[in-house]
């Protein structure tokens, strides 16, 4: 008699074993990523050693030994004292606004908030009605910002007065008479001026760059020649030279009445400089759009301008987003160069105030520069993150 066949059928799966340690888990990750070869192991160890070497001192200097509040520099002069954040706190108003009159700071704040709001509206992909935002930001905002920051001259006062008479409004008449006295640009300074120079550079350079790039590819020889000369000449000299030319030579050549404002000169220089770099970035994008796209557009019967606007430009600009943002980041940091022509930008403000005898001490300069580094890093890092996000969103169509 055959023995009864006993069968065993499992009614459920046995629990999955954890993967072996050398395939998954933190240990495996470390092995695969940090110690996968001799060279990699050495580099990892060196990096760890570097971090261990630099971090404690940095943390101690920046945080533990730092002086957080003090009435003047004496506490920061004590031996062994770290970063003097008290000094940054005492000077933060000057670092932000320069010598802008203290009772009118709301004008700067309001301008910055409006600018930030409009920029968010323009840049945040999901917010609707970009057209309105663009008109507000590029056409109306500069005028409003100028009047807010600089004040109402005779011209704008006359305009408001005319409006007041037209609407017979006492409020407007009051505005025309009393509000917004002029605050000369010699009082402007600090972070606010850095942002202003960067914003003007960025806002002017993108459209100008596109125009110059198109002009460089134009079939009309005169336009092409002019654009090439402008691009190559401005790109061929350092920004410092452009600034010096604008600042010291211009007043010698033009009559007194025409001499541009001392802040206007570097603004023009920076905008011009940024535009030609942008032109070359955009040209790279234009050339990367396949010829077939042009031909397809022509076959559909699109006019030259429609072809550029609807077919070529969107593709070209998408391709060069990293290049554009790269230019913006470089421009943002280049704004510090305006200091050499006597404009009190953020870095210059720090550089001046570290000499204040009330605060001057062994750690003051380092503290000031550390603060500046953090400020620039935050802004540049935000820009680079934004560009990454936009690249990912816009690349959907081309992913296979």
């Amino acid at each position: 008699m055959p023995p009864p066949q006993r069968t065993f059928v499992r009614s459920e799966f046995s629990p999955a074993l954890p993967p072996p340690l050398n395939v998954a888990g933190p240990f495996a990750w470390v092995r695969a990523n940090l110690f996968n070869s001799v060279l990699s192991s050495i580099l990892t160890l060196l990096s760890i050693a570097f971090i261990l070497w630099i971090t404690p001192g940095l943390v101690r200097w920046l945080l533990i030994d730092a002086v957080w509040s003090a009435p003047d520099g004496d506490a920061c002069r004590a031996p062994g004292a770290g970063a003097c954040w008290a000094y940054v706190r005492a000077k933060i108003t000057f670092f932000t606004y320069g010598a802008y009159p203290r009772d009118a700071l709301w004008r700067v704040d309001l301008t910055l908030v409006m600018g930030a709001g409009l920029a968010m509206w323009l840049l945040w992909p999901d917010w609707p009605r970009k057209g309105i935002a663009a008109v507000l930001f590029f056409a109306i905002y500069p005028v409003v910002a100028f009047i807010l920051l600089h004040g109402m001259g005779d011209g704008s006062r006359a305009v408001v007065n005319a409006a007041a008479n037209a609407f017979n409004s006492d409020v407007l008449r009051d505005v025309a008479r009393n509000s917004l006295p002029i605050i000369g640009t010699h009082l402007w300074g600090g972070i606010f001026v850095s942002l202003l120079v960067a914003t003007v550079g960025i806002v002017v350079s993108l459209p100008m760059g596109v125009l110059l790039a198109l002009g460089r590819q134009s079939r009309a020889p005169f336009i092409r020649f002019f654009c090439i000369v402008l691009i190559e000449v401005v790109r061929g000299v350092p920004l410092i030279t452009v600034l010096f030319m604008a600042n010291t030579m211009l007043p010698l050549f033009v009559p007194d009445a025409w001499t541009p404002d001392r802040l206007m000169r570097p603004l023009i220089g920076v905008a011009l400089f940024a535009s030609v770099y942008m032109a070359e970035v955009v040209r790279g994008g234009l050339q990367a759009v396949p010829r077939g796209q042009h031909e397809g557009a022509m076959a559909l019967g699109l006019s030259q301008s429609k072809m550029m606007r609807l077919i070529v430009m969107p593709q070209a600009l998408t391709i060069v987003i990293p290049g554009i943002v790269n230019s913006f980041i470089a421009l943002f940091k280049d704004t510090t160069l305006v200091a050499i022509v006597g404009v009190f930008d953020f870095l210059r403000a720090i550089d001046t105030q570290r000499l204040d005898p009330a605060w001057n001490g062994p750690t003051i300069s380092t503290t000031g520069y550390a603060f500046a580094a953090m400020f620039y890093f935050v802004f540049c890092f935000a820009m680079s993150r934004y560009s990454l996000m936009m690249e990912r969103r816009l690349a959907h169509g081309r992913k296979r």
């Binding site: 002069r77 031996p79 005492a90 000077k91 108003t93 000057f94 606004y97 320069g98 010598a99 802008y100 203290r102 000369g184 010699h186 009082l187 300074g189 125009l211 198109l214 002009g215 134009s218 009309a220 336009i223 002019f226 654009c227 402008l230 010096f244 600042n247 010291t248 007043p251 010698l252 050549f253 033009v254 009559p255 007194d256 025409w258 001499t259 001392r262 200091a339 050499i340 022509v341 006597g342 009190f344 210059r348 550089d351 001046t352 105030q353 000499l355 204040d356 005898p357 009330a358 001057n360 001490g361 062994p362 003051i364 300069s365």
Partner: protein
């Protein structure tokens, strides 16, 4: 695109034509009355070229108000003209564009610790209205070395900034006195100070005013002493354009008025009262007698205005760089002539 580029071309062409035209008519004959003074009065504000930031001489404070010895000099001119020390617009100028700004007429006076040299007057067409601070190169050493004179520095190692006249002056001084030294040369003054502080050298050298400011940056600033010898001449003072003699006089006599006031004991506090004094010198200075201000295009109480609003030279010195400030620079060469210094105000008569 086309219209844009064309308009750019037109604009550039127009600009260059305008530049040529403006250039052709630039040299105007010197006016008999002060064109600058007229302009300043019409504008209602004096435009003063200042340092972008030098402790004690020209530096904005936390609120952005300009302070310092050079700054107060401009306030004094403003007080003389407008009876108000605050009708000044300060234009911070870098070392590179300071003289161009004066030449081009962008500023009325340059009060920015500029050294008075022959080339700046002869070649650049400027005039120095006087010396409001006699500076010069000096040495800082550690107190514990027990050195009292720069002549005892033989064999010392000296930290110095590279490529400046400071470096050349240093070599000249040691050679002229037959002494040996070891230069330790650094690219920036900040680096040189740091190395001195770290004990790399026995002495650090730069201009006297700079030494007092740099000393604050040392870890134990009390352990360092600045030797009194001055080994180079750096006469710093306000400058104006050539071709406007009356304006030159106004700037020059603003300085002299402050000096004379100190010599005669007229201060900000007692100026009004001293104007009534019987001392003829004081009466002439403060305009109680004579009409000296009028011949310069000012009022007869021009000097009284200066002293009332800004104070005499000694007061301004003490407040900004002397005992009343953290710099605590001794008067030295900047004392009055009758107290062993070089500051000498010609008489008002």
């Amino acid at each position: 695109m086309k219209s844009f580029c064309t308009s750019m071309v037109t604009a550039v062409a127009a600009l260059s034509l305008g530049a040529v035209a403006a250039y052709a008519q630039a040299p105007a004959p010197p006016a008999p009355t002060s064109k600058t003074l007229e302009q300043v009065k019409a504008r209602g504000v004096l435009v003063c070229g200042s340092n972008t930031g030098l402790a004690g001489f020209g530096i904005p404070d936390d609120k952005g108000n300009w302070t310092g010895l050079d700054v107060e000099f401009c306030r004094a001119i403003s007080a003389a003209i407008f009876n108000d020390p605050n009708k000044v617009r300060f234009v911070p100028l870098s070392a590179k564009d300071r003289f161009t700004a004066l030449q081009s007429g962008e500023i009325d006076v340059l009060s920015r610790n500029g050294t008075w040299t022959i080339s700046r007057e002869a070649d650049l067409g400027l005039l120095w209205a006087g010396v409001n601070y006699y500076d010069g190169q000096a040495f800082m050493v550690r107190k514990k070395l027990n050195i009292n004179s720069a002549l005892e520095l033989s064999g010392a190692s000296v930290c110095v900034q590279q490529g400046t006249t400071t470096e050349a002056n240093l070599a000249d001084f040691f050679r002229a006195n037959n002494m040996k030294y070891e230069p330790a040369v650094y690219a920036t003054s900040a680096e040189a100070v740091k190395q001195y502080d770290a004990g790399r050298c026995d002495a650090y050298t730069t201009d006297m005013s700079g030494l007092f400011s740099e000393r604050l940056r040392l870890i134990n600033s009390d352990e360092h002493v600045i030797l009194p010898q001055v080994i180079s001449k750096e006469p710093l003072g306000p400058a104006v354009r050539q071709g406007d003699d009356q304006w030159f006089n106004i700037v020059k006599w603003t300085h002299f008025a402050m000096l004379n006031a100190e010599e005669l004991g007229v201060t900000r506090a007692n100026a009004d009262e001293r104007a009534k004094s019987t001392n003829p010198e004081i009466r002439r200075l403060l305009g109680s007698e004579g009409d000296f201000g009028k011949s310069m295009g000012l009022t007869s109480d021009w000097a009284l205005r200066i002293i009332k609003h800004v104070g005499n030279y000694g007061e301004s010195y003490a407040r900004n760089v002397g005992d009343g400030s953290r710099l605590r620079i001794p008067r030295g060469l900047n004392n009055l002539w009758n107290k062993g210094g070089l500051q000498y105000g010609p008489p008002v008569r």
